[in-house]
Amino acid sequence: MLVLWALLFILALSATGFFLGRQRALSLVNGDQRNLHSMPKYYGSNVALKALVPAALLLVVWSIAQPLYVNYSISSSIPESAVSETSSLGLLMAEVRRVADGLDSTVAQGTISDELARDPNADLNSITEGFKSAGQILTSEITRPMLQAAQSYRSMRRDGRFYMIIAVVALSLLGLIWGIRETQPRFRARNVVENGLKVLLISAASIAILTTIGIVLSLIFNTYEFFTLYPASDFFFGTSWAPSFSGRGGSSDLGILPLLWGTLYISLVALVVAVPIGLFAAIYLSEYAGPQLRAMAKPMLEVLAGIPTIVYGLFALLTVGPLLLAVFGDEGVGIMQAGTAVMTAGLVMGIMLIPFVSSLSDDIINAVPQSMRDGSYALGATQSETIKKVVLPAALPGIVGAILLAASRAIGETMIVVLGAGAAARMSLNPFEAMTTVTAKIVSQLTGDADFSSPEALVAFALGMTLFVITLGLNIIALYIVRKYREQYE
């Protein structure tokens, strides 16, 4: 709560700084802004930035660093004897934090006085009683070391916050004063603000990149942990997927091949559906359709891209599956046992990918210069000859790129396969059998109570990592091809 107030305070200070800076700049030149290096608003912005940015940065860094420091110093102060009673230091620290939070809220509710909560020799029973009457739930009994640790945790946290606020406010004020002192007619406020904006934009971009790196690193670490528990060769080359339920012991078969097979098979079906339809739709829209039809049809096709994939999943489960079953099931051809199958998921995923393929291909076909078409028409070629022999070959690399991007979407797709493809991991050639994919299994391995130290849960990271590498590879190839195509017409 106090952090929020501090933030509001520095924001207000920075806003004040804007007006002060502008005012000062104007008054220095007696209101004639022609004698200033920059427009008055830049002097204001300079002061505002100086008051806001360093203080806000300090606030962020401190908020991240303080819990780490407090945790570290408390856990090193806990005596060895207290640790051995419970299973691990980590668990004990969690308990300490819970007690500290409990103390905070019981004091706030008034069931325990602040003095009692701070007293290191307080009666353990009265504390426990206070907790109970305040509705605080404790998982284990409060011990003396635990209470003392919680009390010092509380006080360190409170002191830390107090100092943080002081430091942040002081820094903000300092910045304000610095900015105002800088405000002289010859000061290049415009350039400073320009640099400030550049830094802002750079930091936005780096946050995106750093997050990606963070995600990849967490994948890598957890994958590594998985491979210390489960042999990599069994994972990559195992043909059986049979995880035992965690907690019950027993060995699990965690081979990725059946999942990978399901993924690739469903993606293949999806692409067989999406590529011809999407490509033909794109050719029609870009070459044949009149401008009015095009203006109407293109957005309508792109609406398909806006439908959430879970809705496609429902469509697969409730419409396409039963429909296929009626034709290919026991009452029809007799090669389909249930509504969930590779075909169901593949068809629906194909429909999902149509706008993806058509929209990208349409852009690429439109990028083929009109002079190519004119050249072909002038030789007496018909429209379809022109498309087949000139436009498509010229657009082919881009279209291949679009297809690869669609493929990587198909491989990473989750909701449709969870609902439409079934849950059985098997390697079969019959597209009317239920199979499952890497993504669907990641979902099923992590739903419910997952114990993140067991290979059954950690395998999700290895699966995710494998998918990531595959789709990353596909994307890189696709981007490479698309870029190569672009160079051709520049």
Binding site: S371, S376, Y377, A378, L379, E385, V390
Partner: protein, 277 residues
């Protein structure tokens, strides 16, 4: 209607056959009668009447936006690719109305080829660029036949010596002037009767321009050529007939020497001396 005009023409030709050669030379290959062109609401050409003589080079000159390119594109119906474009009047090729609904546009364009302002070779090999037209029209019986057409066309376009060792490299890798000659070879390969050229040298340097101009002069022997140009000197150098367009009207046309040395109209005189344009 078409049949009638044919008959009339033939009877005329029959009655005045005596001067023979002289009359044959005067028989126009293409003829525009009262051609009006509209882009949507805007009229781009007004009642143009122009004869294009066989085995001659006819130059269309005039300031930008005067309608000369529009007229050129009417001659092989390239304007059809523009949705809002509408053409009225009559344009004939050997007395056949090319805007007759019964006319096959694809066949017309094989008879009336076109070379564009900016060289536009297909992103294919040099060989495939030239072979494109013969292939889609089935002009060759076998592979050797096709190769012969390609070589002959390249030779006529004066490009064969320069590219004979790299026939299977991309046509886009040639220099601008070579690309334009490749486009001419491509147009020749379908054995057109008329070749339309829309400012064929405007994207080329002076040396490449001179080569292409020489080529145009040689091609006159076998083809009827219509060329749109912004360069008065070029029109004077390569053409036998010149037509001057201004603001969508055909102001004056006649022998090139006549137009440049002794223009009848004040506007023509002003344009060729550089006072308007």
């Amino acid at each position: 209607m078409k049949m009638d005009s044919n008959k009339i023409y033939k009877s005329e030709a029959a009655t005045s056959h005596l001067p023979g050669m002289l009359h044959e030379a005067a028989k126009p290959k293409m003829r525009g009668e009262n051609v009006n062109v509209f882009y949507g609401e805007k009229q781009a050409l007004f009642d143009v009447n122009l004869d294009i003589g066989a085995n001659e080079v006819t130059a269309l000159i005039g300031p930008s936006g005067c309608g000369k390119s529009t007229f050129l594109r009417c001659l092989n119906r390239m304007n059809d690719t523009i949705d809002i474009c509408r053409v009225t009047g009559k344009i004939t090729l050997d007395d056949d109305d090319i805007y007759d609904p019964k006319i096959d546009v694809v066949e017309l364009r094989a008879r009336v080829g076109m070379v564009f302002q900016k060289p536009n070779p297909f992103p294919k090999s040099i060989f495939e660029n030239v072979a494109y037209g013969p292939r889609i029209h089935g002009l060759s019986r076998n592979k050797t036949d096709l190769e012969e057409i390609v070589v002959t066309s390249l030779r006529r376009a004066g490009l064969f010596q320069e590219v004979k060792d790299r026939m299977h490299q991309p046509g886009t890798g040639l220099s601008g002037g070579q690309q334009q000659r490749l486009c001419i070879a491509r147009a020749i390969a379908v054995s057109p009767e008329v070749i339309l050229m829309d400012e064929p040298c405007s994207a080329l340097d002076p040396i490449a321009t001179a080569t292409v101009e020489e080529l145009i002069d040689e091609l006159r022997e076998n083809y009827t050529i219509v060329i749109v140009t912004h360069s008065m000197q070029q029109a004077a150098r390569v053409s036998q007939k010149t037509a001057f367009f201004h603001l969508g009207n055909l102001v004056e046309h006649g022998d090139t020497d006549e137009i440049f040395q002794n223009p009848r109209e004040e506007r023509t005189k002003n344009y060729i001396t550089g006072r308007i344009g």
